[in-house]
């Protein structure tokens, strides 16, 4: 149990992929215009992450070192195809919003990075824990990022009107610059807190 939990908690806080490792920023910036997008995108990535980490840690002993990257990509692409098809079938609206970023999970830095840096060197249990932790850390930041941007830029949260009707939304926040600004602030807060303790 401890072997599962340690990498799991590690991924959510201490080595959060977005705030600390600074990987996987492209989908984080692109799809975080609403909190709901964050949940779907995060869960899709988490599923792929856990699946690919599991398979790669299983086959790591038989994978030749020279061609490991293509093999990783093949494994990841398999899971991405599953997610892609499932979302297309059961969440078509969200599939339309996330669009190209679902297939692009294949080349998501977090997934390839964890396969290379963690699953390739660790056992099955730890790799699953790492996958869940990293995925949840990713999802958490996406939801926070999407929530802030949606609240300021649209006056809603998860699609519900939160701000009073007289509130004039900050259009910039749901445009790309808003993503950069918000993520910059989140990272600054993280550094500020980290520097204090």
């Amino acid at each position: 149990m401890k072997r599962l939990l340690r990498p799991l908690i590690n991924g959510i806080l201490k080595e959060n992929p977005i705030l600390i490792l600074m990987i996987g920023l492209c989908p984080a910036l692109a799809v975080s215009s609403a909190a709901m997008n964050g949940i779907y995108m995060g869960l899709a990535a988490t599923f792929v992450l856990v699946g690919s980490n599991l398979i790669i840690s299983l086959i790591r002993k038989i994978v030749p070192d020279q061609i490991r990257i293509p093999i990783f990509i093949t494994v990841i692409a398999t899971f991405v195809t599953i997610v892609d098809m499932v979302m297309h079938a059961y969440a078509p609206d969200m599939y339309k919003i996330l669009g190209i970023f679902i297939p692009l999970i294949v080349v998501n830095c977090i997934i390839l990075g964890r396969a290379e840096a963690f699953a390739y060197h660790n056992g099955v249990i730890e790799s699953i824990g790492d996958g869940i932790g990293m995925g949840l850390g990713f999802t958490f930041i996406l939801v926070v990022l999407g929530g802030i941007r949606e609240l300021l830029g649209n006056g809603t949260l998860f699609g519900l009107q939160v701000m009073p009707p007289s509130y004039k939304p900050v259009l910039l926040m749901i445009l790309p610059p808003g993503a950069f600004l918000t993520i910059g602030f989140l990272q600054a807060i993280q550094r500020y807190r980290g520097g204090k303790s």
Binding site: K168, P169, V170, L171, L172, M173, L175, P177, L181, A188
Partner: protein, 308 residues
């Protein structure tokens, strides 16, 4: 010779041109356009400018406290606040300047390290932020004296192909930002800055001339394009900011010409009627490259190479 000679480490010559002096000169130079704006747009303009300057000072104090820096205010926040206020419509709601100065002072200036370290002109970043976020509030202009909403000359040109008479453009009797309308008042302020040696000709003059020449090439009225919109305000007061423009002679001329090209391109072919603020912001980003590219050769310097 009763004076005592002090022996001290260099530098021995102290210039009065420190940040505070320059900022005060800019504030003095901004007085004519401010008065012109108040004359034409009345109490609403006073309100916008006042909120702008006061909130600017407020944000500066707050962010300095958060950053734990104990230094006196150097006047640059007043310049930023005033410039932003002059860049707003007199009909802007009260929260527009408050948010605008937050963006200018906190985001664009202090988070980058304060005066002298900011990459972009703070007032223009704030204006761009506001323009993208609240297009409605930022582009509702009023006609002078009577408070009826009216489009700016450039919008009129873009939508109705109608030219505003020169005399109205020159004196400022037209719709627009508080500070951009009166070319006469802006030129008085700019003349004062030239006289004091605070700004030089190398950015504003090429900028204005480029706009005029390009307008001529594209078969537009060059004088109209020079006097309409925020070109004079931008060229003489924004594109001459020390921090965000190149320091080399050639770099400054390239900066001015490029600003002019971008301005005309946006005005004639872009979606926005006015392109001065975006052109200056764009060239702000190019400033480090221009500086590196145009390092002057020291006297007697030659590259060792082929001829050796």
């Amino acid at each position: 010779m009763g004076e005592r000679f002090y022996v001290s480490a260099p530098p021995h010559i102290k210039s009065k041109y420190d940040a505070r002096y320059i900022m005060h000169q800019v504030i003095i130079a901004l007085i004519p356009p401010t008065i012109a704006g108040i004359v034409f747009f009345g109490g609403r303009a006073v309100l916008v400018l006042l909120i702008s300057v006061l909130s600017s000072i407020f944000w500066e104090r707050i962010i300095l406290r958060i950053k734990g820096e104990k230094r006196p205010l150097d006047g640059s926040e007043i310049v930023t606040g005033l410039l932003l206020g002059l860049n707003l419509s007199p009909l802007a709601p009260w929260w527009i300047p408050v948010i605008g100065t937050f963006v200018a002072i906190v985001l664009a200036k202090e988070l980058f390290g304060g005066l002298g370290f900011n990459i972009f002109n703070p007032a223009l970043i704030a204006r761009a932020f506001l323009l993208v976020s609240w297009p409605m509030e930022m582009t509702t202009w009023m006609s002078p004296f009577n408070g009826i909403t009216q489009a700016t000359p450039l919008t009129l040109l873009k939508l109705q192909h109608s030219y505003t008479p020169y005399i109205n453009l020159f004196l400022g009797n037209r719709g627009g930002c508080i500070g951009e309308t009166s070319v006469l008042a802006l030129l008085i302020g700019a003349g004062y800055l030239f006289y004091r040696g605070v700004i030089d000709w190398k950015i504003p003059i090429p900028y204005v001339l480029t706009v005029g020449v390009l307008a001529l090439i594209f078969k537009q009225d060059p004088l109209f394009h020079i006097m309409a919109g925020g070109l004079i305000l931008g060229a003489f007061f924004m594109a001459t900011d020390y921090t965000t423009t190149p320091i080399t002679k050639l770099g400054r001329i390239i900066f001015g010409v490029s600003c002019g090209v971008i301005t005309i391109l946006i005005r004639l072919f872009g979606g926005y009627p006015e392109g001065v603020s975006f052109s200056i912001l764009f060239m702000n980003a190019m400033t480090p490259l221009l500086d590196r590219w145009t390092i002057p050769k020291p006297f007697g310097y030659r590259t060792l190479g082929r001829n050796v």
